[in-house]
């Protein structure tokens, strides 16, 4: 049976019962294992949640690939890549934080959690910049999709590069590209759906980042108070798992949305 004890820098507790050990568990280790399994099952549900959105992407891209080729021209690859690296760094610092908790390095833990939080903030900042640009350019979801002048120029320019009579449903009659592009209404209807998919997936992901940041703040406050030690670090570990999953989801979103030929 692993030793259970209370660290002196946690608040004063009855010496017989460790402060953060729930009564229905025999030891910190049991509690940790149970919590870890619980978090993995929750992550399973999160994977299925995003799975639904990836399914929408797969179906729509299978049926209308040209819309994705056009839509991706409006996304900045370098901002997306930067965001990817920011989240990867945040995963490193998160995992490092868990390690610090496990070896009783309180200050290291606080620093790691703070940097993770900062990275989350940078990610949201870049997201805001991207969204704002889209808002100004009228590049919104289906129904609200009204591309401004600048956006239309990009559209028409790229439209001419598409092979004539491609499998676009807009080319019902075999009219050539360039001189008579499809009506704006037709174009809007389909391209708007690309942005519906874009905003739903990245938007839901951004909400998850925000929720993760909230959880990290909670754990950070507790870490600063000295709640965590080598026998009790579950919350740090579980928040870490959630955060890594958010990173993994972005790892797939980035190439699917930003790196379309």
């Amino acid at each position: 049976m692993s030793q259970t004890h209370d660290k002196p820098n946690a608040a004063v507790a009855a010496p017989e019962h460790p402060r953060f050990l729930a009564h229905h568990y025999g030891s910190y280790r049991e509690q940790f294992e149970a919590g870890k399994l619980g978090m993995w099952i929750f992550l399973l549900t999160e994977i299925l949640l995003f799975g639904g959105l990836f399914c929408a992407y797969a179906v729509y891209r299978a049926n209308h690939p040209e819309i994705f080729h056009e839509g991706a021209k409006f996304l900045n690859t370098y901002l997306g890549a930067t965001n990817t690296c920011v989240l990867l760094l945040s995963s490193l610092t998160m995992a490092w934080g868990v390690r610090c908790a496990q070896i009783d390095r309180r200050r290291g833990l606080v620093v790691c959690l703070a940097v993770t939080l900062l990275c989350g903030g940078v990610f949201m900042g870049i997201k805001y910049v991207e969204y704002r640009h889209k808002w100004h350019d009228g590049l919104l979801w289906a129904g609200w999709f009204e591309p401004g002048k600048e956006a239309l120029e990009t559209l028409d320019g790229s439209r001419r590069r598409l092979p004539p009579g491609g499998n676009s449903p807009d080319n019902v009659e075999e009219r050539p590209d360039g001189p008579s592009p499809p009506s704006p209404k037709e174009k809007s209807r389909r391209l708007g759906i690309f942005f519906s998919i874009y905003f739903t997936t990245t938007g839901l992901h951004a909400l998850h980042v925000l929720a993760g940041m909230g959880a990290i703040i909670w754990v950070l406050v507790r870490a600063a108070k000295g709640h965590f030690h080598s026998q009790y670090f579950g919350p740090v570990d579980y928040v870490g798992l959630y955060w890594h999953l958010v990173d993994v989801i972005w790892i797939f979103l980035f190439p699917l949305l930003y790196l379309i030929e």
Binding site: W40, A58, Q102
Partner: protein, 126 residues
């Protein structure tokens, strides 16, 4: 119970309070991070104008392969699956299995019937 034997990391002071879970060494965390950054760079590189044509139709497959490798590194080392009880890995893989089923069956279905929908749209178009 857990496969990983509890042990103190080399830079930990006391033995009696050693963590019961595996502690990942710093060099491993940093190496995984560097590998992830390199893979990100690779996937962006393959999308650059010079490489895009060479990759051609395999673009999506290559990107997904790289993304899967990155996700595997995060899952195995950052999320600790390599050192945990196998059951956690089974939960994770089960999730992927069901998403795979979901996507493949749906895409099979849509690819089968989309031509019919398209024909109907064309007939209906003014």
């Amino acid at each position: 119970m857990a496969d990983a034997e509890p042990h103190a990391s080399s830079d930990h002071a006391t033995d009696e309070h050693a963590c019961y879970a595996h502690v990942v060494p710093v060099w491993l965390l940093v190496s995984v991070f560097v590998a992830l950054i390199l893979l990100t760079g690779l996937t962006v590189l393959l999308h650059e104008p010079g490489w895009r044509e060479r990759v051609g139709d395999w673009g999506l497959a290559a990107a997904m392969l790289i993304a899967t490798a990155k996700a595997a590194l995060v899952a195995l080392y950052f999320m600790h699956l390599r050192y945990d009880k196998p059951f956690h890995a089974i939960v994770f893989l089960a999730a992927l299995l069901f998403v795979g089923l979901f996507l493949s069956l749906t895409v099979l279905d849509t690819v089968e019937y989309q031509p019919d929908i398209k024909r109907y749209d064309e007939l209906r178009a003014p």
